[in-house]
Structure formats: structure tokens, C-alpha cells
């Protein structure tokens, strides 16, 4: 399936781009992270400490166990600092 992947804040800076479209069969967020990390060093570095990251699937906060069936947009970012 085709997924839109978005990166924000220092995750975006480490990955080196704000978004990309990928083709994947990863069933969960965790599987997607593993797949991306295996690709290139910059991904492995960005995803090296998952506890320091947050993930949203289709603009809703979720966790690494979340399934990707029907997902269109996955975003990775650090803990939020609004307000």
C-alpha cells in the first residue's frame, strides 16, 4: 500500500525531509519503523529511541502497536510542546 509519511521538528531534521510517499506492506507502526530503520543510517538514527518519539496515524495520536490497514498518513515527531 501507499503511505504518506510525515516528520516534524528534530525528527524532520534528522531524516532530512518533511515528508515522503512510500510503498509498504508493514502491518503496524512498529513494523514500518523497523522497515524504515533498515533502509538508511539517518532513519536508524531518528528511530533509535522510540520512547522519545510520538506517532500519529491519520492525524490521531496512537502507539507503535497501531495497525496500518486503511491508514493513509503516518507522522513521527517528538513529544509536543504547545502552549
Amino acid at each position: 500500500m501507499k503511505l504518506e509519511i510525515l516528520y516534524f521538528a528534530w525528527v524532520r531534521e534528522r531524516i532530512g525531509q518533511p515528508r515522503e510517499t512510500i510503498e509498504t506492506d508493514a502491518p503496524t507502526v512498529a513494523a514500518l519503523v523497523k522497515e524504515l530503520s533498515a533502509r538508511e543510517e539517518r532513519y536508524a538514527l531518528a528511530f533509535s529511541d522510540l520512547s522519545a518519539l510520538r506517532v500519529a496515524v491519520d492525524q490521531e495520536l496512537t502507539d507503535y502497536d497501531a495497525t496500518l490497514s486503511d491508514a493513509r498518513e503516518i507522522a513521527f515527531f517528538p513529544p509536543m510542546t504547545g502552549g
Binding site: L6, F8, A56, Q59, A75, F77, P78, M80, G82, G83
Partner: protein, 146 residues
């Protein structure tokens, strides 16, 4: 209910005045304004990044939770993104209720949730370099109050 996510400045005083104008059912209005604070005295500017689309969804959800939980006659959130100078207003919330306890609790709740659950990230630029503001454990812990 009003949610605004914008790069343009807003006028805190005017927003406060308009928010509680011409209402006779409101007894209590609480507003909060967040301002770019220059801790070290050397902050050049702050840059706020956000996640367009998700930001509006998250803020709307937080405001709806506040409205479900307290007796609010109105509530408002304005949050800026982009570059901001020290002293500039970053964001504000306002709540209106018949009674003060609801207005206070709802405003406090909105702030706690949008600190840790709305997709904004702050980067500070100083002469020695720039860095992302780290989330505080105390902000995450504050959510357990609700």
C-alpha cells in the same frame, strides 16, 4: 466555540474584550495568554512548527472535551505558528461560564492538554545556536489531574 491556528499576530486585549461582549448569561470569563519568554536574556527568536490538519483536529477535540466536562457557554483557542520574537503572544485560551469554578477548571484543562497533546514544537534561536524545546515531564504529569 472558536479555534484559530495562524501565523499572524493576534491582539490579546481585543480578543478578551470581544469574547465577553454583549452577553448577560455569562458570569465568569477566564483567559490565559502564553508569551515568548526570554529566560536567559539571549533569545533571538522562537520558531513554532505545527502539523497542519492535525493541529485543528486536536484543538477541536480538546475544546469539545472541555465543553462536555464543564458548563461552558463559550470557549476559544488561538495558537500561532512560525517565527515569534521575545514578548510576543504565542497563544491564548478563553472560557465563559455562569460560574467561576467551571471557567477556571476548563481553562486550566485546555492549557494542560494543548501543552502535551496538540502538535506544536518550539525551536529557540540563541547566539550560540538553536535547539528544540524539550517536553517537560511535569507537563505530561499534569494530565493525570483530569
Amino acid at each position: 466555540m472558536q479555534i484559530r491556528v495562524q501565523s499572524a499576530p493576534f491582539d490579546y486585549g481585543t480578543e478578551c474584550a470581544v469574547f465577553c461582549a454583549d452577553r448577560q448569561d455569562v458570569g465568569a470569563v477566564v483567559t490565559f495568554c502564553g508569551i515568548v519568554r526570554d529566560d536567559g536574556g539571549d533569545l533571538q527568536h522562537m520558531e513554532i512548527e505545527h502539523y497542519p490538519g492535525m493541529t485543528e483536529r486536536a484543538l477541536t477535540k480538546i475544546a469539545q472535551q472541555a465543553q462536555d466536562r464543564w458548563e461552558l457557554l463559550d470557549c476559544m483557542i488561538i495558537h500561532r505558528f512560525g517565527p515569534l520574537e521575545p514578548g510576543e503572544r504565542i497563544m491564548m485560551v478563553a472560557t465563559a461560564s455562569a460560574h467561576r469554578a467551571d471557567a477556571f477548571a476548563a481553562a486550566d484543562f485546555l492549557m494542560d492538554y494543548l501543552k502535551s497533546r496538540a502538535p506544536f514544537w518550539k525551536k529557540e534561536n540563541r547566539p550560540e545556536g538553536s535547539g528544540w524545546v524539550a517536553a517537560k515531564d511535569s507537563d505530561e504529569a499534569a494530565l493525570s489531574r483530569w
